[in-house]
């Protein structure tokens, strides 16, 4: 799928929880789970576009799930129905969808965003592990083929009180996919390696171009220096080097 420049028109942009928002755009979109778009709804300031993962695509509807972190996401959160954004995408290399057997998905916080689309696109049986700080969110959207749903919260308000990796056991799965905070993903990697279960990790790094040109998002992997925006964001677990 060749990426392209396109416009998206805000259909809805609603607060899900605290500073978590769901934005639905109408337009002509495509993309696979794990791919992302570079977005901007401004002219020259801020200077750079912001990468957001595809959280869902249905027909001409593209959904993003995002957390307000700084300037750019704050501007996004203020968009209203009818506002128009510039998009560039779909970008990057997503999750492989051709695995057999039962699949484990481990997501932390806003890291659930790409996993929603992933769960909807996979034909396999899925166990979903979602780790949250205060309260789980958006879990009603993960799709029908999710078998078991494990939830943890740091607060203990819902589900297991602690880290999701405490209750994650990869032994039943033919493959595991993960996206979330680095410490979580690092732990998932260790657990999967111990049990010899193949793992795919979705990485995050600050981006300028998003298309593979600037080398701003390079990371050192076991297979050399790779660009998160083009060679990733999804990498095989054994490629990723975490510095804990």
């Amino acid at each position: 799928m060749k990426p392209k420049q396109c416009n998206g028109k805000v259909l809805s942009n609603i607060k899900i929880l605290d500073n978590i928002y769901e934005m639905k755009l109408t337009g002509d979109f495509q993309g696979n789970p794990g791919q992302f778009y570079m977005l901007r709804s401004w002219d020259k300031e801020p200077f750079l576009s912001r990468p957001l993962s595809i959280c869902n695509i249905e027909g001409n509807l593209l959904t993003f799930l995002y957390e307000v972190k700084g300037k750019g996401t704050d501007i996004f959160s203020k968009l209203r129905e009818g506002n128009v954004l510039n998009l560039l995408g779909p970008l990057g290399t997503g999750f492989p969808l051709n695995n057999e057997g039962k699949i484990g998905v481990v997501a932390g916080g806003i890291g659930i965003a790409p996993m929603i689309y992933l769960c909807k696109s996979l034909k396999n049986d899925i166990d979903f592990y979602g780790g949250f700080r205060e309260k789980p969110f958006y879990m009603d959207t993960i799709g029908k083929n999710v078998n078991k749903l494990y939830i943890s919260t740091d607060s203990g308000k819902e589900g297991y009180n602690g880290f999701i990796t405490d209750i994650f056991n990869p032994e039943e799965y033919s493959v595991v996919y993960t996206c979330g905070p680095m410490p979580m993903m690092s732990k998932v990697k260790n657990i999967c390696e111990e049990k010899n279960v193949p793992l795919y990790i979705s990485m995050e790094k600050r981006m300028a171009c998003g298309v593979g040109a600037c080398l701003g998002c390079s990371i050192k992997t076991t297979s050399g220096i790779r660009r998160v925006c083009k060679d990733g964001p999804v990498f095989r677990g054994e490629e990723i080097i975490f510095h804990d």
Binding site: F47, L48, K205, R206, L215, K220
Partner: protein
Amino acid sequence: MTSVEMFGIKFKNPVITASGTFTRDYEDFFPLSKLGGICTKGLTLNEKEGNSGVRIHETTGGLLNSIGLQNPGVDRYISKELPHMEKYDTVIIANVGGSTMEEYVRTVEKLNNTNIHIIELNISCPNVKEGGMAFGIKSDIAFKVVSEVKKVCKKPLIVKLSPNAENILDMAYKCCEAGADGLSLVNTFSGMAIDIKNRKPVFDNTIAGLSGPCIKPIALRMVYEVSRIVNVPIIGIGGIVDYKDALEYIMAGALAVQVGSGNFMKPDICLDIINGIEEFMEKENIKSLEEIRGIARRY
């Protein structure tokens, strides 16, 4: 109408993509043959992994980068990447980085036997710790490295100046004396940012390179001043994001321009700039860019 010529090489238009900001990856978004030229990422003799840690930090009106000359090395570039680049009907400029005089010379020698049209010598990359920086700061040192490179270089040689040069006029003058066929300016400004939460510099290297619209007024001033004292073609660089910016540089004396960070705003921004220049020329009844090149220097 928009075409310009340098060293007997014809550019369709004066818009060239700047080193380190543009690769074939952009061909998804527009036909690259529309460009006046493409400048490669800084090539070094050996492969470079680049810098660790954060590499990009947005600032008001631009960004700091600390890429650290990540590149596959000149040999692999020539064998693996150049064949693809040659497909495009545009001028290819090889940007050469280095940290020792010898490295520059040997890299340029390797490029002599390729179809690359022009060599741009980056004596100014602020993101390599071992050295390289001093070349761009002290004009006497620049004189030496340019002289040595010139001796072996079989392509037209553009020297890319650093805005961190102690004296940009002296630097420009010495580089021309040493044999530069053209000058391009500017490279990024030495800058930094501090992460107040973690109470430390954002970049592992502390210092990074500033680019984008924020630097335009300073870069334009340097192009204006330099173009008054040298007779070689000048490529203006720094913060160009629309055709008006490009025309400012041309009126300041630049023969062509390079667009760097602007590509990150909009992948086909160079097309917009090319079209904008064309429309401006039509509206103002300008037949050739020569008519307005350096026109603001009269004052």
